[in-house]
Structure formats: structure tokens, C-alpha cells
Symmetry: C2
Subunit: 224 residues, 2 copies
DNA sequence: AGGTGCCTCAAACGTATGTTTCAAACAGAC
DNA sequence: GTCTGTTTGAAACATACGTTTGAGGCACCT
């Protein structure tokens, strides 16, 4: 075997198991036995379980954020000073994700689920790690979003970004299960690319929705 | 003390801790010590930790699904045969949630987070429990959605419902953290009602977006 | 007073977890 | 071949978990 292919085997097994079962619910013994590796190897190579979790994210996120930066560079160059539209920005992100070299057939969806879990499970260390490690492309995406939706108030934009993130993370995170259901119910096959193609228009439309009206309950029952 | 106020103290503590930290990350010892109750009381009154989780959901969900049913009844009666609009349907759901009698100041948001966790954490027993216990109002909501969006193909509708579910579950599931961020960044206070008031227009707009176009990467770079 | 159910308590049980240890195996340099 | 630093191996460690136990308390009934 190549020099310490143990490390990669651990990362592969951990990535898949974390995505399937969450972080706390995945033990080191599950990981090492799936990876066919000795238990102590994890602590030897990574130091701790938390550090392993960080490494799983870093292996995907570091090349991805580089890809994303150049995609944004291209986009801004093509727009010559004018701010890119919302659709363009969302597509730049989506295509960067979809075009990432994929380790196996499950591809991007595993990682989408991991990102969803990172936000959902209250693993303080993970959020802190992600925020301080990948703040640059994140901030840039936020800036592009802001320039593409100047009509929104900061608060509206903030919440709608959360809604976008939620729709994306949730859908992608369970896309395997959802695809199966769709297959059984309607007999339709679906790829991650097609899901993305459906998701982006949904997100763009929601992002550009009319301003929220007052809640009907505060006045009368809603009509029409 | 009143007859077994222990049960309620356990439920209160469990509800809050589960919402804060997730199910696996919350131990019975945390719950019983927060509730100022003996450790064995959980297994005595509920039988197991999983059964306690179910009880936490049932305490909220059972009255809620009753409220929701009457809300749907009212809505359909008001529409006199015509199918309710998408906005009406979403508002009926939202208002039913918001109007639930709240046990404490944190109110509905704790429970929204629990529902999000239920979908996110891969606790098989929980999803099974929720699906077979509350399938009726769920199916009814789905039927209303279908009648409110006749222009969508079944596949489009299916995916967009997942997007809605994701935006809702994800946002609500981390709404405390998000509110804190918003508080610190922009100095704005936000109630769950206000989040819901922002969420519904976003969802409705996304649900009714124009049909998805082909993915730009399949042809040329996106312009305008 | 005595007895009966329901409940609480402290302690223990068995198991699973993350981590550590230390000897053995291995690779490459001399 | 021998030495050196790195990696693997089986076993143990300490801790935390969910659950069970059995003795005790308390209220209520006859």
C-alpha cells in the first residue's frame, strides 16, 4: 500500500458513516472496522475524534473553496463591474459544487448532508472550525448575494439566506432517501444535477419574493 | 406536590435539553438533574429514553394536530368547495403552530427545533413514531398543497415540498442560534412569529416559481 | 394499626465509548 | 545486516451511558 493509505481509508469510512448516522452516533470502532484499520490509528493519525471530523470537512472544503473562488473570479470578470445577478451567483455556487471531483458515486450528496449536520447538530467545535477556516469564500458569497438583492433589507436578506441554506442542506442531505421515494412513487430517476436544477429556481424565486405582509392572525382571516 | 408532578418536570427538562443539544447528546442524567428528580424516575415513568423522546413529542403534537385539523376544517368551510390557495394553506399551518398554548417564554421555537432534529438526526424510531402517529393531518396538508398548485407536475411539486420542508425545518431547528447571531450582528430582536411571517412568503414564491430551466453548465455560461 | 400501591432513592450492573499504552512490524538509510 | 523513526497491533484504561435492583417512604383505605 502507498504511504499511509490508512489515513484515506479512515477518512473515507468516516465521511460515509458520519453522513449516514451523524457524528455522535458514529463511534471510532465503527469507523476503524469499516476502514479495516486498527482502532488506535485514528488517534495516532488525527489525535482525536473531533480532529478527525475536522479533517473530513477539510478534505472536501479546501479544494472546494478554491474552485469556488475561481468561479466567482470568472463570474465577476464576465460582468465587467456590474454586480452578478442572483441567478448567476447561485449557479456559480451550484456548478462549483457539482463539478467537484467526486470520490465515489454518492459524490456530492454525502458532503451536503455533512454540511447540514454541521449546522444542525450542536457541535460547537465544528461550527467554530468551519467559520474560522473558510470565512473568506463564505463572506464573498454573502457579498455577492447582497449586491444581487439590493432591494432587500439586511434583516430580510439574512433570514432568506437561512431559508435557502435550509432548503439546500436539508434536501441534499436526504437526497438519497428522497430519490428512492420518488423512484418508488412516481417511477422517476433523478440525479443530483437535476435536483440542483430544480432547487435554484425555487431559491431565486423565494429570495426575490414580495416583502412579507403582516401576519394574517394579527388582523383578520386570510382571504384569496 | 401534586400527583406525580415528576413526570412534567422530566418532560420540561427533556424538551429543553433535547432542543439545545440533540437527543443523543443529552443524557438521562442531565435531564434528571435539571429536573431535580431521581435518575431512575425516567425509566420508571416512561420505560426508556426513547419512550421519553416520544412522550416529549406527543405532549406537543397531539393537541397541535387537533388544532390543525380544525384549522383546515375552517379553511375548507370558508372556501365553499373551491380549493384553498397556497397562501391560505401555509398560513393555516403557521397560525395553528403559533397559536398553540405555550408552556414558557421560549414557546414554539423549542418545538420547531425538535421537529427539525427529528428529521435531521437519523433516529429511526422517532421518524417511525411520528409518521404512524400523525399521518392523518400530514396527508391532509399534502392534499391541500396538491390542490393549491395544480399547475405543477407531480415531480416538481414533490421536490418543491422537500425544499419547503427543508427551509422550515432547518431554520426553525437552529432558530435560537440564528436569532443570537442576528441580535449580535444587527442588534435586532426576532420572534418566532416574525420568522414565520418571513418564511411563508418565501415558501409561497418558491413553490410558484417558473419552471426550472436547463442547467447552464449543460449549454453555455449564464448571462444576465 | 396494619396493609396495599404508588413512588422515590442510592447504588449497582453491564455495556460502549474515546483514549492510551507498549511491544511488534515495517520501511528506508547507512 | 543493522540501526532509526514511523506505523500498526492487541489489550487495557477510565469514564459515561441506559437500565435495573431492592430497600425505603408516603398516602390512602379498612
Amino acid at each position: 500500500m502507498a504511504q499511509s493509505d490508512t489515513v484515506d481509508r479512515i477518512l473515507d469510512a468516516a465521511e460515509e458513516l458520519f453522513a449516514d448516522r451523524g457524528f455522535s452516533e458514529t463511534s471510532l470502532r465503527m469507523i476503524t472496522s469499516k476502514a479495516k484499520v486498527n482502532l488506535a490509528a485514528v488517534n495516532y493519525h488525527f489525535g482525536s475524534k473531533n480532529a478527525l471530523i475536522h479533517a473530513v470537512f477539510a478534505r472536501f472544503l479546501t479544494p472546494f473553496s478554491a474552485t469556488l473562488e475561481t468561479a466567482f473570479d470568472d463570474l465577476e470578470a464576465r460582468c465587467e463591474g456590474q454586480p452578478p445577478t442572483l441567478n448567476q451567483t447561485l449557479w456559480a455556487l451550484t456548478e462549483s459544487a457539482v463539478r467537484m471531483p467526486q470520490r465515489n458515486e454518492k459524490g456530492i450528496s454525502i458532503f451536503m448532508r455533512l454540511l447540514g449536520l454541521a449546522y444542525t447538530q450542536s457541535q460547537g467545535h465544528l461550527r467554530k472550525f468551519l467559520e474560522q477556516e473558510y470565512s473568506q469564500p463564505f463572506s464573498r458569497f454573502m457579498r455577492l448575494l447582497k449586491e444581487a438583492t439590493p432591494q432587500l433589507s439586511a434583516v430580510d436578506r439574512y433570514w432568506r439566506i437561512q431559508f435557502m441554506l435550509g432548503a439546500t442542506a436539508f434536501t441534499m442531505s436526504s437526497s438519497d432517501a428522497l430519490r428512492d421515494i420518488l423512484q418508488n412513487k412516481l417511477g422517476v430517476e433523478t440525479t443530483v444535477q437535476e435536483i440542483a436544477a430544480r432547487l435554484v429556481p425555487f431559491l431565486a424565486a423565494g429570495m426575490q419574493a414580495e416583502d412579507a405582509v403582516l401576519m394574517p392572525s394579527l388582523k383578520e382571516a386570510p382571504v384569496a
